[in-house]
């Protein structure tokens, strides 16, 4: 297996991943808050910010990632929905076939993508063995968070309604009204920035790191190039259909990458190790 080809593929994948994440965030801003907003304008501002952060190095990025926890403070707002939840929507349990469940998992894998960046970050973690339990804890928390979102959405919407809803989790916010803020979805939509920015920075950083290993160039030299690529990419996705197509394309590739290619490499690695150290 050509090591370079795998790296090159991985770099392109990460840049595209950053692009699609950023574009779908800008789209929610355009639909929910500022319909007249130009894509390139917000994209440019956020990419300049990302440039600044990525140049700060891995530690700064980790700091920004910590910020992404901020959106968990929105969880209690779901308490406003209690009167409207129909938990009977969840029953009867396990009515779907295995193929249905597999299809659904493939659809949802986009939300879980990003773990593969860990492969590149790994040398930067000080005590990898001791840190392992934290990674598992983080993964558990995130899964729990997604599970609660899914349960809330299923209980809040009827089946037909959920099919018609473009952004069900954001529409949930449309229901919340506080005495000092009438439109809570504005807060909800803007809070997504805290989820988008860390992913953006991390993906760009990982791509530039991989480039450094492969071509022995300075990381700070390639970052602007990647940011430019992301910028061009977001400008080339003008509407809902193209963004949707982009997301499903990325989630297919990502799904195979995480669930097929990386396990395959692992098996290969085990195999080679045996070959090298015969007993």
């Amino acid at each position: 297996m050509d090591r370079g080809a795998a790296y090159r593929f991985f770099i392109i994948y990460l840049v595209m991943f950053a692009g699609i994440i950023l574009r779908s965030f800008i789209e929610t801003i355009q639909v929910w808050i500022f319909p007249q907003l130009q894509t390139w304008l917000l994209g440019f501002v956020l990419l300049v910010l990302a440039y600044y952060i990525v140049l700060g190095g891995f530690r700064v990025i980790v700091g920004i990632c910590l910020l992404s926890c901020v959106h968990y403070i929105l969880l209690p707002t779901y308490g406003f929905l209690t009167n409207y939840l129909h938990f009977s929507n969840l029953t009867p349990i396990l009515e779907h076939s295995i193929t249905d469940l597999f299809k659904a998992s493939k659809q949802m894998s986009f939300s879980f993508l990003g773990v593969e960046i860990l492969l590149i970050c790994y040398p930067f973690i000080k005590k990898p063995k001791q840190s392992q339990k934290w990674v598992h804890a983080a993964s558990f928390t995130l899964t729990l968070f997604y599970l609660s979102l899914v349960i809330f959405s299923l209980a809040f919407y009827s089946r037909g309604q959920l099919l018609n809803e473009e952004w069900p989790t954001l529409t949930l916010f449309k229901f919340i009204r506080l005495p000092f803020i009438e439109r809570f979805e504005f807060v909800g939509v803007s809070f997504n920035l805290f989820r988008v920015l860390p992913i953006l920075c991390l993906a760009i950083w990982a791509a530039s790191r991989a480039t450094k290993i492969l071509f022995a160039v300075r990381q700070s030299k390639v970052v602007p190039l990647f940011l430019l690529m992301v910028f061009i990419m977001i400008c080339l996705l003008p509407n809902r259909q193209s963004i949707d197509a982009g997301i499903s394309f990325m989630s297919t590739i990502g799904c195979y990458l995480v669930y097929a290619y990386i396990p395959f490499l692992f098996v290969l690695h085990l195999f080679r190790k045996k070959e090298r150290n015969p007993i």
């Binding site: 009515e95 009827s158 037909g160």
Partner: protein
């Protein structure tokens, strides 16, 4: 920034849109001026209206949307479409049906002090919080509309001697107006629909004496029985009540039992006649189909729609008088 918008049916399949625009005066009072325009689509009617209104027109504060009964008979989906599409409209927005012309209602001076939209919003809000109106809003209308075993319902407003009153509940078959129930039936309907902890019920005892029972917490439970080929549903209702008025001189334990019994009878009678109406019209505002779906594996909507009109729905009520006010008699 209109808080209430109304829609009427106009000639040649057009829609007449009426807006009560709030006008804020210097002495901090608010009055309304109404504007109307006619078009085939809601958005175009709004666009036409822009020609008359000097200030920017945005429906971000929309709290009540009114539809005339004639319009509702043709189906509401067409008119609700722009509201569902608009990211700016709150999902808490109330929808209501007007018996008569919406334009007449909005043009009349039913509200002396408040802005008309705020008045209507508070009227509906209040009846949901302490009255007999089941909870409805834009989200719940959509929920029931898109749900397979459920049909939506909306309150009916009526102009009566320059006052707006809630006249009953409009029941829908999908998005089309199918029938309506009056206020007395609405009280029982709400008991069968959800857990309530307010509301009063008048009980007629014999020889011209009456009692009033206040609901202090009612619980409703649906139970499945029968087979999957012939499902049966039992609606179990438990009410804790307090007697707030009694037209006799003394309230004995026997009277209490009697009041309990009579109220149970009344509720069961009204409930049965309601169920009969629903089943004949093939509408399901209580969401019994949705309940059966949640208890049945491989539920089939088409099969359910054949079963529903003929199925057995039992109603059981048990009233428990727990309080009778601060006097002993």
């Amino acid at each position: 920034m209109p808080i209430v918008i109304g829609y009427d049916k106009a000639e040649q399949n057009q829609i007449e849109m009426t807006v009560a625009a709030p006008i804020f005066k210097e002495d901090q009072t608010v009055s309304n001026k109404t504007y109307s325009s006619v078009s085939h689509t809601v958005r175009n009617a709004r666009e036409k209206m822009r020609a008359e209104i000097r200030k920017p027109f945005s429906i971000g504060k929309l709290s009540v949307a009114l539809y005339s009964k004639d319009l509702a008979k043709d189906g509401l989906v067409k008119i609700l479409n722009p509201i569902k599409r608009d990211a700016r409209v709150s999902n808490r927005c109330y929808l209501a049906i007007v018996d008569g012309k919406v334009k007449d209602l909005l043009e009349s001076d039913f509200s002396l002090e408040e802005e008309k939209g705020v008045f209507l919003k508070e009227l509906i809000d209040g009846k949901i919080k302490v009255g007999h109106l089941p909870r409805t809003n834009l989200h719940q209308f959509g929920y029931a509309l898109h749900s397979e075993g459920m049909d939506p319902y909306l309150p009916i407003l009526k102009l009566h001697n320059k006052n707006v009153r809630i006249a009953g509940l409009a029941l829908f078959k999908d998005d089309k107006y199918a029938s309506e129930i009056n206020l007395d039936q609405m009280r029982v309907f709400r008991l069968l629909l959800e857990n309530v902890n307010h509301g009063t019920y008048e009980v007629k005892l014999d020889h011209d004496s009456y009692a009033v029972v206040e609901n202090q917490g009612s619980k409703v439970r649906y139970r499945m029985g029968g087979s999957s080929e012939k499902p049966e549903v039992t609606i179990d209702l438990k009410i804790n009540g307090a007697i707030t008025e009694f037209s006799e001189w003394r309230l004995t334990e026997q009277d209490k039992r009697k009041i309990e019994m009579r109220l149970e009878e009344q509720i069961i009678d009204t409930g049965k006649s309601l169920m009969h109406t629903f089943q004949t019209l093939q509408i399901d505002p209580l969401g019994i189909g949705d309940f059966v779906r949640s208890k049945t594996r491989n539920w089939n909507n088409a099969k359910w729609e054949r079963q529903y009109p003929g199925m057995q729905i039992h109603i059981r009520a048990s009233v428990n008088i727990v309080e009778s006010g601060i006097t002993k008699y």
